[in-house]
């Protein structure tokens, strides 16, 4: 299925969850937040949250600077 991650089109297998998406992105889980359709998904739900076709996913890091 097609999903959109940080403005990039990705072709992924059906039922991919957020945790699996992180390993696909070769991105470490710590320090990141994930939002699906503009809603931040709680960390403890990442392993069970299954992405849907055409989901718009945003992955971003905490910024500490100021």
């Amino acid at each position: 299925m097609i999903i959109n991650v940080n403005y990039q089109r990705m072709d992924v297998e059906i039922d991919l969850n957020i945790k699996q998406l992180f390993s696909l992105l070769k991105c470490d889980l710590d320090g990141h937040a994930v939002a699906v359709k503009q809603q931040v998904i709680e960390r403890q739900k990442w392993a069970s949250y299954q992405l849907q076709e055409n989901d718009v996913v945003s992955v971003f890091q905490a910024i500490a600077g100021g």
Binding site: G31, A33, Q38, A64, G66
Partner: protein, 250 residues
Amino acid sequence: MLTDPEVLRYSRHLLLQDVDVTGQEKLKNSKVLIIGMGGLGSPAALYLAAAGIGTLIISDFDVLDVSNLQRQIAYSTADVGKYKVLAMKQRLEALNPQIRIRSINKEMSQEQLSMELSMIDLVLDCTDNMHSRQKINTACVQTKTPLLVGAAIRMEGQLMFFDNKLSDSACYHCIFPQNSDESLNCSNSGVLGPVVGIIGTMQALEAIKFIVGIPSELKNKLKLFDAKTLEWQTFSINKNLQCAVCGAIS
């Protein structure tokens, strides 16, 4: 009650229906704590002092370095080597002698922070490291103090608002639970001056709106600013019932 000099000084607020005399009096009676007098704190403190926040408490323990001047626009070259809060206090008093400014020139312990928070209406987190951000968030949740978070690095910024007086408020830890400082800050990564300026200015704007009572869209939201495209993205944050900081507090 506003004095005659205040009516003159704040006339452009008084002409605004959303502020008016009632709003200006709220600003006059408010107490705001700004933690961090760097690139975010510079515009935030200048705008809040100019707006007539009755009591501004400014906190930082750093000495001004010449490399700060590229983005910390409240200071001048002659201030290099001075404590930032002392230089800032002088700058703000010169800007608006009709308000009270108190400076805290050291890193506050959790207890001291909680004590300060119990006496104020709103905190602006303008710090530059994760440890301080987590400490401020914890104290704000415990004391039910509204918290406006700003952050910026490279060419991106983040803005969040948590009204901890509300039982359904999320907190900073709900979205960013890590304590380590491996996330980037301005000392180990670059930043464009106007990017911190934009985020610090947004913090000042939201602070004024909150105190006056102008509804804000920022509650339980995270806004990401991309300085390359000038795009803002907005995300909703739900209170995480398993959050180690706010989860047990209802």
